[in-house]
Amino acid sequence: MQPVYMDHGATTPVHPEVVEAMVKAMQANFGNPSSVHAFGRAAKALLEEARVSVAALMGASPEQIIFTSGGTEADNIAIFGAARGMRQKGKGNHIITSAVEHHAVLDACKALEKEGFEVTVLPVDEHGQVHVEELEKALRDDTILVTIMHANNEVGTIQPIKELARLTKARGAVFHTDAVQSFGKIPVDVNDLGVDLLSASAHKIYGPKGVGCLYVARGVKLTPIGYGGSQEKRRRPGTENLPGIVGFGKAAAIAAVEIEEEGTRLRRYRDRLIEGLTALPHVKLNGHPTNRLPQNVNVSFQFIEGESLLLMLDMKRIAASSGSACTSGSLDPSHVLLAMGLSHEIAHGSLRLTLGRGNTEEEIDYILNTLPEIVERLRAMSPLYEGKEVVMSCTQRR
């Protein structure tokens, strides 16, 4: 059996047609899009073609798309750019975000606090959802920016962006959403969502690492965070990552065709996994039971720790991830799980399986057959677990 990759939330394999398009962009169209000669013009044409394709997948116009070096940079350009831009216009000083954002958002907001901005972090409920009433309470006359992610990377919970954005814009503030995990997976339409700024990243949708984009609605002022050439309307200077951008364009075009069918397929796998795993003793589903990404499964196994679980899965050729701090070398486990009210211990025992194009029904079976044994084995070693399920030693079981 091939290794089973179930960590598509971390990154995805690159689609063969994406690789092909990138190779072509490097071999036949290596020019600098800023050059006036034939090589430059050919490169420029490819750049704009990719922009059309990425824009189309989010219902935007091509000129509203800025290519970036990834989701992190898109988040940074949006948040620093809008916050400083609005303050320069004298609109205020207050930023609102949520407790479950990616570090690219949370840490950018923290850095802005040092510049004198005031930041309110909205709580989430036990499913990881932001409540519209919480935003309503937090909005002030000097609120200039609200940044709340579309779907969470760890637990897959989808936020009520449409309502949050409407509320925000009614108060004259800018609304940004980090759609890195949802773009290409569930429908994302900037007009329907009503957002001003939206971040996405290519390597989560079978495109290459190191490319992303920011949607910028007309009229939104962004103070640049980087300086150099006049590429991307001066919002993201530097020679464009042409092969990467071409790959992103191709990935978006493929996603546009496959999104619905893939969503249905992965939702079925997801539900099989959730059902099978939560049937085991002392297991808890993390995230929203229904309002979650089709590809996301996140469960906590009581009494065991995530890194050991990942290593054991790895020995069985299963690639997954965990919100345990032990995988990152830091002390606290995932801020997302803690914000949802999980205890440290339960957060440490979390397992995230994120599905994707390559996964098969057999792989779901394999996981469901393999995991119980591993969990039992680790529990048998755990001083926290004294249940009688451990009568037989795990070595005998093998």
């Binding site: 050991s308 290593l311 054991m312 205890s343 211990e345 070693m381």
Partner: protein, 123 residues
Amino acid sequence: MYTEKVMDHFANPRNVGEIEKASGVGEVGNASCGDIMRISIQVEDNIIKDIKFKTFGCGAAIATSSICTELVKGKSIDEALALTNQAVADALGGLPPAKMHCSNLAAEALHEAIADYKAKQEG
């Protein structure tokens, strides 16, 4: 990330479990930081005749617990007390810097178990 030795002790941990009527038990760490280690020892004539561990923690935590039990089994109490966390890490062929604290725990749990044994002797 981990050496072969670490992975061996992680995949095939030695001396997992709990000694009934142990001469001494040591437990260190807490679930919030992600490590809990419990070591129980059976001592006869100042020699560690048997030792078992249970660990809630990462790969390094499990591997260090395992090798720690192996290193001191059959050794005298004094020899066991001389075991340092560096010696535990070295016996595994090294640990990643971020994981050195896990080896502290194994040595500490062992020392706690010995202290518990001594306290029982005196009491």
